[in-house]
């Protein structure tokens, strides 16, 4: 389809596509994505402003009010400590989202640095990639449990435990992008222009990794939220005193037959959040990889 390329003769006016309009394009690309964005925004905003939104203290124990069914006072009922479930779920979003976003940022950052090194420095590549292979070979959840046991179950530990197993995939991604980008003529032109390795990485290689990393980041974010829930389920999660979606479900699971809502409500919110994040990730990928959008041929 070589004939479809631009046939611009004169330089067109300055491009007015800003990041903001780009985001708007992505968000409004389909009604499902729009809905996902709105739902995610509600979850995120209510988590951020939880302190003002929730009707009850999410941490304070009131044993006399334990396991109350949903009512006007307790919209979704209470848990086994007499804490308001609704308040805990809303507040729990904070930890879960911090874990999700934190793990995504940390994994992407660590993976970016290591991936750049592996992609650009030949001798380091061999060593790094063996280590990355090794890390990938160790089962994620088991690695995470071991790390949490090692440092004790704090937010930071859980974050590290979830991040570390995600790093290898990012390293591989960045490395492959770097390996293909460094063959690009404009990179070779930069080499010919005497640019330093650091400048070439910063200017010509890193920007190429941004799009795939944003996409990968959304997936890591989603999977981190789930992993946090699984760690809580296995008793290796964040201190149960602090609400997170994972430990609300983990603590509530024995009450499943008494009040299924204790598991299902946070489960629903987790699913909605992850679904939204994944859908956004897909939308971003479709937008950033225009080849995808034009695929398909009439029959």
């Amino acid at each position: 389809m070589t004939d479809q390329t631009t046939a611009t003769v004169a330089a067109p006016p300055r491009d007015t596509t800003t990041a903001l309009t780009r985001v708007r394009e992505i968000v409004t690309s389909s009604p499902i994505v729009l809905l996902a964005t709105v739902l995610l925004a509600i979850v995120v905003l209510s988590a951020i402003f939880a302190t003002w939104v929730v009707p009850h203290d999410p941490v304070r124990l009131t044993p006399s009010e334990r396991l109350k069914p949903p009512s006007d006072t307790y919209w979704l009922g209470t848990d086994a400590f007499g804490r308001d479930l609704f308040s805990r779920i809303v507040t729990g979003g904070r930890i879960s989202l911090v874990v999700g976003v934190g793990a995504a940022i940390a994994a992407v950052f660590a993976g970016l640095v290591l991936g750049l090194l592996a992609g650009y420095i030949r001798w380091l590549d061999a060593v790094l990639m063996r280590m990355v292979d090794g890390l990938m070979a160790i089962p994620n959840v088991l690695l995470a449990i071991a790390i949490v046991s090692l440092w004790g179950a704090s937010l930071w530990t859980v974050l590290v435990a979830i991040t570390i197993p995600e790093v290898p995939r990012v390293v591989r991604l960045v490395r492959s992008v770097v390996l293909s980008a460094r063959e690009e003529p404009y990179v070779e032109a930069a080499i010919a222009a005497g640019s330093s390795t650091w400048l070439i990485m910063r200017r010509h290689l890193v920007p190429n990794t941004v799009a795939p990393l944003i996409i990968q980041g959304t997936y890591i974010c989603a999977s981190a939220i789930l992993t946090e829930a699984i760690l809580s389920f296995l008793g290796a999660g964040i201190n149960p005193e602090t609400p997170s979606w994972g430990n609300i479900m983990a603590e509530g699971r024995i009450y499943f037959q008494i009040n299924p809502g204790i598991v299902l409500w946070p489960g629903l919110i987790v699913s909605v959040a992850i679904l939204s994040i994944n859908l956004l990730g897909d939308a971003v990928r479709d937008a950033l990889d225009p080849r995808m959008a034009q695929r398909g041929i009439d029959r």
């Binding site: 389809m1 631009t6 046939a7 611009t8 330089a11 491009d15 003529p185 005497g194 640019s195 041929i297």
Partner: protein, 549 residues
């Protein structure tokens, strides 16, 4: 009813069915049985889309508008059922494509890919199908057909792959063959063979050919009639001889004038004896390493010695795999030569470390083939241009001022510094790439197939620009190309390479005019349209004394 085999009338193809976004604007075309019609145009002319529309294979986003019509033997194809279209394909009309490597299924044996056509369009039994397939493979002059039958596409050469495509297209003896730039991706000698084959089979089978190309040389070799397209509109339709001699429109005339002549430029008087670039016995060997299992050794370049004077142009000519680009990349030290020396600015740079090399970088700059990829799409072109000068300590303001000057020098507005690469066309981008190279004030400019990806009219402009710059700045240019015409037009000296070795090296007039080596002769003989002096609208045979007039 008309007796035309194919009749396209008022074909309009639009993006998303929006009549404001037409990419083909009312194409009318008739092909008689047994006739070869060439559809000629530069990129964006809509020539391939018209062909795809005929086959019913347009991409989803594009669709023919109301009122368009494509009739094959009187049968309307637009709006025909998918089933009917499937039946017509391969039996009544077939298509071959530009890039035979990607057009063949990489994981299926080529014999089976041909045979598959019979499976769906004939009632032949399995052994019968196989026999017929082998017969067809033989008919397209493939060697060792029993073995090739079982081969995978990547095991074949480019020419063999295109022969497979042709066999596949013609095995059901369709009356119409659509050939979409079938030789563009091939080397010039292979191209000549494929063109011969298409002609031969057309005569044997009596089918009509709709031949799509951008290359006037090819047109002169194969066409009966020619339709010239520009930006989706028909410029003119004529018999090929008439068209080449008496083009009716300015566009066609410009197009023909832009075709580089096969006749070497007249030698220039030597203005300088200063050597700006010299290599001695340059070698590059790939592979041959590995801890336990040695990988196969490939000698990409062997004992290449060349000299480039100030203000002169040295062309390296060769087909793919000849090692011409390897030489260029070694000279730029984008890859490390295995042995030999490279002298730039009076110093041997072949073995310098990247750090020691840096001061020498400004003496030699490169322009690449692909205009889409040679500029970082994410930064403004001004930033791309000044990157080199900044590395050498030039201030931001001074470098930017120089960038503006250079852009004007290469024929672009100074304001282009603030724009992004995607806002420019291919030719404009190549100009920017040249400006970027010049920003370093180099002694030597390496142009690695720098005009090969450009449309012929744009190519002519860029070549003119290079010549003009050389005149003004006294640049030494190392010009890598596969196109003999281009080489003939701008080179003072020419080096012909094959399989990593230098075949012939000397003044352009001598190498291209009186070639000594068989390979050089074969190359020249294979160049399509070599008998035509397109720029002067006549064959050379009729104008021998007036060459270059």
């Amino acid at each position: 009813m008309s007796d035309s085999l194919l009749e396209i009338s008022n074909l309009r193809i639009a993006l998303n069915g929006d009549s404001d976004k037409q990419v083909v604007k009312g194409l009318n075309l008739k092909i008689q049985p047994g006739q070869t019609m060439c559809l000629v145009g530069e990129s964006g002319s809509g020539k391939s889309l018209s062909a795809l529309a005929t086959m019913g294979l347009l991409p989803k986003v594009l669709s023919p508008l109301e009122g368009s019509s494509i009739r094959l033997k009187g049968e309307e194809l637009l709006g025909a059922s998918p089933g009917r279209m499937r039946n017509l394909r391969a039996t009544a009309m077939s298509m071959i494509f530009q890039e035979p490597m990607t057009a063949l299924n990489p994981v299926a044996r080529v014999g089976q890919q041909i045979e598959e056509v019979l499976e769906f369009h004939s009632d032949l039994g399995q052994s019968e199908r196989r026999r017929k397939t082998l017969e067809m493979m033989d008919a397209v002059h493939l060697p060792d057909i029993e073995k090739l039958y079982r081969s995978f596409p990547h095991q074949l050469s480019g020419g063999q792959r295109q022969r497979i495509m042709i066999a596949m297209a013609l095995i059901m003896r369709p009356q119409l063959l659509i050939a979409d730039e079938p030789t563009t991706a091939l080397d010039v000698t292979t191209q000549a063979q494929i063109l011969t084959l298409i002609r031969e089979l057309r005569e044997q089978q009596g089918s009509a050919v709709l031949f799509i190309t951008h290359d006037m040389g090819v047109v002169s070799e194969i066409a009966d009639d020619v339709t010239v397209l520009k930006l989706g509109e028909v410029m003119e339709t004529q018999n090929v001889d008439n068209l080449l001699r008496h083009p009716q429109t300015d566009y066609t005339r410009d197009l023909l004038r832009s075709v580089p002549s096969q006749v070497p430029r007249p030698p220039r008087s030597d203005r300088s004896e200063k050597i700006v670039l010299k290599t001695d016995d340059l070698c590059k060997t790939y592979g041959g390493t590995g801890l336990i299992f040695k990988s196969r050794e490939v000698k990409a370049a062997q004992d290449v010695s060349l000299k480039l004077m100030q203000g002169r142009t040295l062309g390296i000519v060769g087909e793919s795999g000849s090692g011409k680009s390897t030489v260029a990349r070694c000279i730029m030290r984008l890859i490390d030569p295995t042995s030999g020396s490279i002298t730039v600015g009076g110093q041997d740079i072949a073995t310098l470390s990247q750090k020691e090399l840096k001061p020498q970088r400004k003496n030699i700059q490169i322009v690449f083939q692909d205009p889409m990829r040679s500029l970082n799409p994410r930064i403004e072109v001004g930033q791309s241009i000044i990157e080199g000068p900044l590395n050498f300590g030039v201030s931001q303001e001074a470098a930017m001022a120089r960038a503006r000057e250079l852009l004007e020098l290469v024929g672009l507005p100074a304001s282009a510094v603030d724009r992004f690469p995607h806002q420019f066309s291919g030719g404009q981008r190549q100009r920017i790439a040249i400006a970027r190279a010049l920003a370093m004030d180099p002694d030597v400019l390496v142009a690695d197939e720098a005009v090969s990806a450009l449309d012929v009219s744009v190519q002519a402009q860029v070549l003119d620009l290079l010549a003009e710059l050389q005149e003004r700045l006294g640049l030494g240019i190392l010009f890598i190309t596969h196109d003999l015409g281009v080489a003939a037009q701008i080179c003072d000296e020419v080096m012909v390479m094959q399989f990593g070795r230098v075949v012939e090296y000397g003044p352009a007039a001598q190498v291209l005019g009186q070639p000594q080596q068989d390979y050089t002769k074969a190359l020249i003989a294979a160049a399509p349209g070599r008998h035509w002096d397109f720029a002067n609208f006549r064959p050379f045979a009729e104008s021998a004394p007036a060459a270059g007039g």
